[in-house]
Amino acid sequence: MTALAQLLESLRPMLSIGWLAAALAGAGALAGLVADMFDSRKTGIALVALGMAAATVVSLAAALLPLETQISGISSTFAVVLTGAGFAGLASVVYFTAFLSCASGLGTVRENIRVPVAALIAVGAVAGQVLLGADDVLVLFVALELMALIAYALVAAAGTNRSDEAAIRYFVQGSVVTGLAVLGLAVLIGLGGGVSGYGELTAAIGLLAPGAALLGVVLLVSVLAFKVGAFPFHSWVPDAYENAPAGAAAFLSSGAKAAAIGGFTVLFARLLTVDPFLPVAAAVRIMAVASILFGNLAALRQTSVGRMLGYSGIAQVGYALIGLAISPRDTLLFASTYAVAAATAFVALEYFRLAEPGWDGSVAGLAGYGKTHRIAALSLTISLLSLTGMPLMAGFWGKFFVFYAAGSSGLLWLSVVGLIGSVISFGYYGRVIRSLYFDAASAAIVDQDEQGSSASLPNVWPSALGASVIVLTGIAPLLWGLQLVYALFSL
């Protein structure tokens, strides 16, 4: 352990550059694209994944070895993106989900665009790192739009009628929101006198007429709410998650969302700290409750696993919104645990899609996979339990800290709503698990399995990796205390 610590210590100067992770990721993406030009697609994806892996490790190291206890800027001159410990922690999660997504092999994507899709995911992860630490409205806006463009493309990458439809609708809705975003920029930066950093903005909008300031802020909140997929800005979520290629949805549902939650959190922590914005926090709480109820209830009767995960994602965002205005650290922690679990779930689905071409994506169709695809099924189960918030899984800590923070702020009722939502959520997560393990496989599937056992199976290890991360981080705090958690997400 000490040797490792020394090594990390010697790497400090390099880690201090928050760019390093982004640069590695970007380099991986470019290298992948270059390799793609020479038609070596496997290498291309491997290169992108490698870049993601490197970025994950670097970010994690940066998180564990915080350079300063205070919030640190990306560099001394441009204090527009936060890369302090907690943000590096979340960034490493974003990169990790992107890594899982790429590592799944993206087998459901058509071969000719596989590497570009991977590269898009990589760029998305970079955008995510910027987004989650954005300390500047303009940076936030551009990062959001970058993420949005990538998201549209990822949904459309499935190349089916349904995915086209989902992408178009997503795009139209997103465009309206972009309009709102520009309006928000106009109000905040325009009326704020041309400053865009949160620090100066806080001072500047303090001088504005209350109505104008609130308008700008609410516009931004709406935009971020759309990005995270909170009720009532949620409509795109189920469509997108269901119809995007599962491997790409793995990033879309996890890293992209976690980054948006991060950006949302920073917005609240840095900009909305002044008194006049308390109503905004209250409004977000209402949105949280609505999201939790809507997401959980609407997910109950879904037949498609992806769509169900989409609705459940709405609910999960609701939990994050609980913590948003209360405890940034806990919100980031929750976002991370959610992201890893969601990515693992989708990566497992990607595996099923490839391993069982006959699977129609429905919950009932998973019947018997618990026996035929043990590892992937187990990974999916673990990720779903984590999403439920069961102890021994990472998801428990995420929810626990958020709810604890809410309780400590005198909002125990909010925690209770969230907890009840968790109970409802097992109604649909449990149905998936039930299908996997308790339902007999139909005869056709068994036959297929016997035939297809010799064929090359897709990667199962990314889902296993995700699941082990979930379990390890779920158990570790019990053994070594909670400092580990605090260390990763101290702000």
Binding site: S408, I420, V423, G427, Y437, F438, L478, W480, G481, Q483
Partner: protein, 482 residues
């Protein structure tokens, strides 16, 4: 004190080995599981011995040493040790009960041992977080046991079990959050800032609701018959024998100490729930046509006594609750073992189809009669001391309501003896003339439980000597001397 972590690690290790041993042969997992369960029992006894050696107060183990800021701690005292021993014993019985499982034996035994580890953790948890974690972790293996190895309606029952008890325990989590944020410590029993009395009024119910669901009391009980009936035998044994005890343990360990004033105002209601459970459970058991369902409802009645005893808030009441829990663990374990063993050979639980089993399977019949007598609270067997004390103390606290309790005890005799008459007595049904008697493994397990039942029944003092120090403290905190 490494015995405490060992109590958790031994079954966990056994669980892992069981999974991998399944590749070797189909019978390897059960051997592994049995070894692990016996070793676990050995460790439990070792814990008991070392606790008695250290003047019987308590054992403690802190992860990461004492200097760490936030650590998990394990504590074993008089409240936990009896239940730990019970769990270890039932662990062995459960493995024996699933001796002939052929469907994925590795996973089954691994889940069983994992369940045991989780339950152990509940009883040993020294901080609230660990307590809750273990409390919920118990659901996972149980869910899979019911769903994976249960009977016809297992799919629905597993989900219902999970969601119902999960709903109760998340409210408990809200309560735990409220506790921690007020007392500023997660160590159980460490109360820095006193919780305001007005808060305690709702806090107690928030904490207790999850436990009351687990116990379960009327009218929060409907998950239980479904779960019990559908669960495989080993699952039923653990469910009735150990999982329900978590509720009573939690009340005494968490809910009441943290919200004593809330408890005092809630005690009559809780006692009412307990009394209602006693009568209601007995009546429901009387109405059953399914033998396993009957036993399941009898659990409601028995645990009603535990709730009643706890709600007296006296030292003897607590002791009665502990006795009741240990006893019910043994008796219900035995009952489910017997019903499971019967089901395995007849593939039915329909009471009406049995009859005269005392003639065809005399050993099984004899033990069933014994179990029924134990279940109805016959003195000399384990059920009696707890029920007697519950009535004695309940009379002191709640007066003539005990008339209902006493009649509830009578109803207990009614359904048990009715079951005996319809299953064991009478002319043997032609359907089962060639039924083989109870298997040797089951017989051994049953004898183990029967010995426990007799020992506790004759000398309940052994349990109470263990519980004495901690119960004294807890009862004094409530302001009740006796």
């Amino acid at each position: 004190m490494l015995t405490l972590p060992a109590l958790i690690l031994v079954p966990l290790a056994g669980s892992l080995i069981a999974v991998f041993s399944a590749r070797r042969s189909a019978t390897a997992p059960r051997v592994v599981a049995l070894i692990a369960a016996v070793a676990e029992a050995g460790v439990a006894v070792a814990a008991l011995v070392s606790m008695l050696a250290t003047s019987g107060e308590r054992l403690m183990w802190v992860s990461g040493g004492n200097n760490a800021v936030a650590t998990s701690r394990l504590v074993a005292d008089g409240l936990s040790i009896p239940l730990v021993l019970l769990t270890a014993l039932l662990g062995i019985v459960a493995v024996a009960a699933s001796w002939r499982i052929t469907d994925r034996p590795g996973t089954h035994h691994a889940l069983l041992l994992g369940l045991e580890a989780a339950v152990m953790t509940v009883f040993l948890a020294g901080d609230l977080i660990l307590f809750y974690v273990a409390w919920e972790a118990v659901l996972i293996p149980m869910f899979f046991l019911i769903g994976g190895w249960g009977h016809e309606n297992r799919r629905h029952a597993a989900l219902k079990f999970f969601i119902y008890t999960f709903a109760g325990s998340v409210l408990m989590l809200a309560g735990i959050i409220a506790v921690v944020m007020t007392v500023r410590s997660i160590t159980i029993g460490e109360i820095g800032n006193a919780i305001p009395a007005s808060t305690q009024m709702w806090l107690f119910w928030l904490l207790a609701i999850g436990m009351l669901v687990k116990i379960p009391v009327f009218p929060l009980h409907t998950w239980l018959p479904d779960a019990h009936v559908e669960a495989p035998t080993a699952g039923s044994i653990m469910l009735a024998g150990v999982l329900l005890k978590m509720g009573g343990y939690g009340l005494m360990r968490i809910a009441i100490p943290y919200a004593p004033q809330g408890f005092q105002s809630a005690a009559p209601v809780m006692a009412g729930l307990g009394i209602a459970s006693i009568v209601y459970g007995a009546l429901m058991a009387l109405a059953q046509t399914d033998l396993k369902r009957l036993v399941a409802y009898s659990s409601v009645a028995h645990m009603g006594f535990v709730v009643l005893a706890i709600s007296t808030g006296t030292a003897l009441g607590y002791a009665a609750a502990m006795l009741g829990m240990v006893s019910h663990g043994l008796v219900a374990g035995l009952m489910f073992l017997l019903v499971g063993s019967l089901y395995e050979r007849t593939h039915t639980r329909e009471i009406a189809r049995f009859g005269g089993l005392g003639v065809t399977t005399p050993r099984w019949g004899g033990i069933f009669v014994f179990a029924a007598l134990a279940s109805l609270g016959l003195p000399g067997l384990s059920g009696f001391p707890g029920e007697l004390l519950a009535v004695l103390e309940g009379f002191g606290a709640f007066g003539w309501w005990m008339i209902i309790v006493a009649f509830g005890a009578l109803l207990g005799a009614v359904y048990n003896l009715t079951a005996v008459r319809r299953v064991v007595h009478g002319e043997p049904s032609t359907e089962w003339t060639h039924l083989s008697d109870i298997a040797p493994v089951d017989l051994a397990a049953a004898s183990l439980l029967a010995i426990g039942i007799v020992v506790i029944g004759v000398t309940p003092g052994v349990v109470m000597r263990l519980t004495d120090p901690v119960v004294t403290v807890l009862a004094r905190a409530l302001g009740g001397g006796s």
